[in-house]
């Protein structure tokens, strides 16, 4: 059992990762959260579902779901809420990252945290009224043009002024609003306002078939399409109690590592560009482009979209393709080693990187910083290492961690992970030859799930852990799908990272996290 609590009965979920499911009473939620937090665990995701129409489901109301993680695995708790007064205890006191998730859950479903201290809209932006994720929601009647007032926290004092930035930026990037309170160039406070790319993904899932859902899951955040598609497939396979072919699993790992390689290359280039070292930008992007072109040539899509489907994969690798990838590996290792030397010896660049945007390990632990940014602040979490699903259980992934928590640390972690991913890719290519070589990686796709099922998948994407939870209705159709991006945890940490830095360093610090807007606005 991952946690001991007298009123909590957990049942082990089948599937690729160690996960438990349990029902919980409102009074027990905070103690259990504290228990997990004290044991070094974290909050992964928080979402809600509308169970008012379901026959035989407890309470006939709403359900709150909380996914926690500790060293033994993923713990999914669900709590029945009253239909008339759907309130639950505020857990942002234990897990600060819960704050925005609770606000978003209210905007979508109308369930709210008791004594929550922040009741501002998060996703809604005055564009609709009502709660879209309720089953009786009528989209046609919901349009509204409410004034979009959002009270930012004001900083008072002599010489303090505000700089509003975005959501439309000078460059072609995703929309987000950043409100800086500054004295001169020094940042006293940063407040983010996101939600500009809300597009109703969770609502859309409700009307899709399992296979259509896989496509949509792969489009939650384009740069992490493999991680999302795998997490979705993992959740579906967990409900259906299906194990994909061995060869498909090796190919999935290959895709995931290639996604990591491409994104890390791109980010390292961008980090060069942000300190005006356009040379680094051009070099890394030539390499990234080569990886993407190989993806297109071998698997049919530059970003490997729709290549992972519930039940298996939708692409295979021929013997000739393996040689292409081995050559690519050798080329990348040689070039990246050279470029790493240039980055590390460039005094002007290191001067910008070192000590910029520091998140101390203690703060990182409090905020639940996860993924790549977490590992740069000594938060040693990597789902490939701690909860290795097949085939990672046979790969022995080396986790890259660093203590400094500044931009330089996030650059180093990226370099280390890049080399590790190249090593893994080589290893996978070797294993593909004899493990499950006779199998077809593309079996009959999974079409139907059992009714009233719940499954969860968690995959270590390049940015951090991506979680997808699937609830099926009595008819086995998708009743509720919740994709969770690691950006939920890391966006609030960025507000802390930038404190005490100067305004022109913000873009660099932001880029060193490189968080997703689309992935968390859903």
């Amino acid at each position: 059992m991952p946690i001991a609590h007298p009123n909590l009965h957990l049942t082990r979920l089948g599937g690729a990762i160690p996960a438990w499911l349990g029902e919980i009473e409102p009074d027990d939620l905070l103690p259990v959260c504290r228990n997990v937090s004290d044991g070094g665990g974290r909050l992964v995701a928080l979402w809600g579902s509308d169970a008012r129409g379901d026959v035989g489901v407890r309470g006939n109301g709403f359900v709150l779901h909380v996914a926690l993680v500790n060293e033994s695995g993923l713990i999914c708790l669900s709590m029945a809420l009253d239909a008339g007064q759907p309130a639950y205890p505020d857990i942002s006191r234990v897990f600060p990252a819960a704050g925005r998730m609770q606000r978003a859950t209210y905007d979508l479903l109308g369930i709210y945290a008791h004594e929550g201290h922040d009741h501002r809209k998060w996703l809604r932006h005055g564009a609709w009224h009502g709660f879209p994720l309720r089953k009786d929601f009528d989209a046609a009647q919901s349009r509204t043009d409410e004034p979009d007032a959002y009270p930012f926290v004001q900083v008072e004092g002599q010489g303090v002024h505000e700089i509003p930035v975005g959501p439309v930026h000078a460059g072609t990037i995703e929309p987000g609003h950043f409100r800086f309170s500054v004295v001169g160039e020094k940042v006293l406070r940063l407040e983010e306002r996101l939600g500009y790319t809300h597009k109703g993904i969770e609502k859309r899932f409700e009307s899709l078939t399992l296979q259509q859902g896989a496509k949509l899951a792969g489009r939650v955040s384009g740069d992490s399409t493999v991680a999302y598609a795998w997490a979705y497939a993992m959740a579906a396979e967990s409900i259906a109690a299906v194990k994909p072919p061995e060869r498909a699993l090796w190919l999935r790992a290959l895709f995931l590592e290639r996604e990591r390689i491409a994104n890390h290359l791109g980010d390292l280039g961008y980090l060069g560009n942000d300190v005006a070292l356009a040379f680094g930008f051009a070099q890394f992007w030539i390499l990234k482009e080569q990886v993407l072109r190989n993806n297109a040539a071998l698997f049919g899509h530059r970003y490997l979209m729709d290549k992972i489907m519930p039940g298996g994969v939708a692409a295979d690798l021929a013997e000739s393709g393996k040689q292409t990838l081995r050559d690519e590996c050798a080329m990348l290792e040689r070039e990246v080693r050279l470029l790493r030397g240039i980055y590390e010896e460039h005094a002007g660049m290191q001067d910008r990187f070192i000590a910029a945007g520091r998140v101390e390990p203690k703060l990182a632990a409090q905020l639940g910083l996860c993924g790549l940014a977490g590992r740069a602040s000594a938060q040693a979490w990597d789902a490939r290492v701690q909860f290795p699903c097949a085939p990672y259980d046979r790969l022995d992934v080396q986790m890259a961690t660093y203590r400094n928590g500044d931009v330089a640390a996030r650059v180093i972690v990226r370099f280390d992970e890049l080399f590790e991913s190249l090593r893994l890719q080589r290893e996978i290519l070797g294993r593909l030859a004899h493990e499950g070589a006779q199998e077809d990686a593309r079996p009959e796709p999974l079409e139907k799930l059992p009714g009233n099922g719940f499954g969860v998948g968690m995959v270590e994407g390049w940015r951090g852990e991506v979680l997808v939870a699937i609830h099926t209705g009595a008819d086995g159709k998708l009743a509720r799908v919740h994709p969770h991006d690691p950006s939920w945890q890391n966006w609030p940490a960025l507000e802390h990272a930038v404190l005490g830095n100067i305004v022109p360093d913000f873009p660099l610090i932001n880029k060193s996290f490189n968080l997703s807007y689309s992935g968390q606005d859903l």
């Binding site: 000078a170 300190v275 005006a276 001067d351």
Partner: protein, 319 residues
Amino acid sequence: MENTNPTLGILFQLYQSLLVVLLAPLLTGWVNQCRAWLQNRSGPGLLQPFRTLRKLFHKDAVIAHNASPLFRVTPYILFGCMWLAAAIIPIIAVDLPFSPAADVIALVGVFALARMFIALAAMDIGTAFGSLGARREMLVSFLAEPALLMVLFSASLISHSTQLPRIVEVLAHQQFVLYPSLAFAALAFVIVLLAENARIPVDNPSTHLELTMIHEAMILEYSARHLALIEWAGSLKLFAYISLGIALFFPHGIAEVGNWGAVPAAILALLGKLLLAGAGLALLETLLAKMRIFRAPEFLGTAFLLAVLGLLIHFLLGA
């Protein structure tokens, strides 16, 4: 300095004025092209700045409701100042009719005038970025200006004049002497050139990150013909600075007073120097990363120090 042939002089002044206004975007294009080559990119070609200008002149200007007339006239003032500065620096021949105006201190004043207007226009609209850019521009320029004056004084002390034609005449045509003081001044001048023209490592002319901008932040609200004039003025300013560097430190090849026959060779020499200077600038910009904004005072302090060293060397060693 007397002019040997007034009509020819005026014609030539007109010719140089037209030449600089056309050469300036070409020089910017050349610098960008070199940068692209150094980064393994193919680059947009030399004529890209002209294409950008044509595009901008064909667009309708969008101006904020609360813009004052100052905001509208600033692009013209800026363009006028920079054109004047670029036109009066003797880069081909020294006996231009406007040359008495080419006083180095006046030149610094012309640059300051343009800067004052653009900074005021940036704050005129009242956006956060305009004020941010204006504030940073003032931080950089008030440190760059004294360094530039010190550089110019080093040259003035050698030639006993603050008039550029006279300085060029002395340095290029009287006797061939190497001045150690000018070597220090030249180093200082390069630093000032980078800072004043919003180049790396002080500013990044090609950035899209609005929070890091200095010069670009000031002109974010400009569009169409106004933006075109500002861009053109930016090219002219870079051209003027490089011309100034050529006139002070590499004047050899500039035609002497009355020697109109040397003009074609002087034009060729100028083109060669511009190509070299542009390539050098691109190389510097490729090698350097942008520094934290609060390193800029140290950087420009170094320029001032070098320029003062040049002056001291002149006084102590008479060189």
